[in-house]
Point group: C2
Chain length 366, copies 2
């Protein structure tokens, strides 16, 4: 099938670009001296995870336990849940999962660690955890000054194996200046390594220092003591990253094909992709309003408004040629939640649909 | 099962409130003298549609053909697709659907109408359409001044039955002042009725005048000549509408139960619901930043930041009592895309889960 025969809206992924992106990040991280544990929340697709492993990834990262279960079912056996797991139901599920595959999760509190330890003891196993440190994102994570003391307390719990230190200095994502972003990445990595070394000096086997995302992975991977990095978005790239110079539009592998369904005014077109396809995500504070995605073939045309199932384009001179029935291809601002809205996407090469991929972990928020 | 035993994040709906909301809108629209054709994009759940019909709805509205197919499969036989259908694949599907149920869609161009007419002729049937008029939203729809001429041209096509006039003056949604909103609603309804009467005078059987949403339905229903209104959000209500005085917080039937997974600072908590649960939808231009939803039990606590699978709360004095493991219930800003992220939701009464409902039309963007 040719892409032009796909009904719209549809997500298409250029498989050549996808493979190049995966190979490039693998090569850079390897050259920098760390392992790659890519974050699969960007694609939620087991086949892409398989490609990442084939290109040398040492394991996979997920955001939620439900995503881990999907990947375990698909045969993946080394998973990091980059989140705190809290609540009896989740810990029972974690115990079941821990019997099937190597799984690790994060802790940033003694309260949370005790919950894990209690369930582990009751289940007759031990949970492997990473100590989550706040290195500037101000989301979760223990403050660096309190990290060693918390690590000691957690490491002493009977049901817990404290195997590493974890951080995500995602604030570095928002820094368009590469030198400043590099400094952020180095600071994150340095803080995590310092905590790990102090815990090692106290006799804990914290072998893992896991840091960084797409914007900082290559910098952090070169820091001595960092063992793994967890970029996610690099597989598809998106406009938020391209506008910051993290990746380029030429590296954007994923587009949304959307059809013009109305041409109500010379400078206005309506397309069949709205916020239930593109999401309303828009990076704030960029100065010039970027709109809700980017049409590479019509760079002067903006997606100025989204309704749930309608997108409104403000057309420049070139855009005015758009007629009802024409298809535009949109690079989304933020690719991760966009994929999470779709049941499937189409892998294409040279305009031909090679196959459809199910977003197997879509909606696994628990 | 009690709601406190649900794993998080989970969507819970107070079924008593849901039924009251449905009954109230039905009663008001009936009293005003119009029929109710509720927009099902808010709930995407056949059981709620059934409840709407049981309370007197005259048929159902959907945003996409795929939603119509789900409802037809569930046994509903009178559907309005509130959108333009463009493209060969969609029109073949529409033809199949038109053989099973009474289905209507919208047109706002001769080009689009000809596509419909051609397929109808080839399939040996006629498509019933409503003429979509722009009454101020500036999305799709023909301008009122050109509507009669377009209606005549469309009505003359061999495969088309022009059965009515359609408008959504959604701009009225954004008007917090009730008197101004009423004026908008009356203007929309008046414009649509005027176009319908002109077409009727020219011999077209445009019996239907279909207008308005939750913010304007009751006003528009009272306008002579309006035959049906299409509110959607009223079933659940949400914070965007509550902040505008369209509905109240007490009418908000849907909440997201989310668990505190981290308490990294005295004034900060992290919950397990992020943008992949709540969406980043936030009504702009409200002055005071409302955050990403509202915790009724902690009105001074704000959801200040969302990551994909994390929400960050800035806690006021009351909020500081929140501990790891505690559950908060969040009323979303915009309920429609929130439901579209979930595979299911839980219907509850007095704290007890009555049953789980599948979001059967979730993700049906085509």
């Amino acid at each position: 099938m040719h892409t032009q025969d796909l009904d719209t809206p549809a997500i298409v992924v250029d498989l050549d670009r996808l493979e190049r992106n995966i190979a490039a990040m693998s090569g850079r991280v390897r050259a920098a001296g760390a392992r790659l544990r890519p974050h699969t929340k960007t694609h939620k697709t087991p086949e892409v995870a398989r490609l990442q492993l084939r290109h040398g990834a040492a394991g996979l990262t997920v955001a939620k336990l439900g995503e881990a279960e999907v990947l375990a079912d698909a045969g993946f056996d080394d998973l990091l849940i980059a989140n705190e797991l809290i609540g009896a139901s989740k810990l029972r599920r974690l115990a079941r999962l821990a019997r099937r595959v190597r799984v690790r999760s994060c802790v940033d509190s003694l309260v949370g660690a005790r919950m894990l330890s209690d369930v582990a003891e009751a289940e007759g196993l031990r949970f492997a955890v990473l100590l989550d440190i706040n290195t500037g994102l101000n989301r979760g994570g223990v403050e660096p000054e309190q990290a060693v003391a918390l690590g000691e307390a957690i490491g002493a719990l009977p049901g817990i194996d404290l195997v590493g230190v974890f951080s995500y200095a995602g604030a570095a994502r928002g820094v368009a200046d590469a030198a400043a972003r590099r400094n952020w990445a180095l600071r994150e990595a340095g803080t995590a390594v310092a905590v790990a070394r102090e815990l090692q000096a106290r006799g804990f086997g914290v072998a893992e220092v896991s840091v960084a995302g797409t914007g900082s992975a290559v910098y952090a991977a070169a820091v001595p003591g960092v063992t793994e990095v967890r970029p996610g978005t690099y597989v598809f790239n998106d406009m938020n990253y391209s506008r910051m110079g993290i990746g380029t539009v030429a590296e954007c592998a994923l587009r949304i094909r959307s059809r013009v369904i109305s041409r109500p005014a010379p400078d206005r077109a309506v397309i069949d992709a709205g916020s239930k396809v593109l999401t309303t995500d828009k990076r704030a504070g960029d100065g010039d309003d970027p709109g809700y995605g980017f049409i590479e073939a019509l760079p002067g045309t903006r997606i100025t408004a989204l309704w749930e199932e309608h997108g409104v384009l403000r057309l420049d001179e070139d855009g005015r040629q758009l007629a009802i029935g024409d298809v535009v291809e949109i690079i989304p601002n933020h690719v991760c939640p966009t994929i999470n809205l779709a049941d499937s996407w189409y892998g294409v090469r040279a305009g031909v649909v090679e196959r459809e991929f199910a977003v197997a972990a879509r909606g696994k928020t628990r």
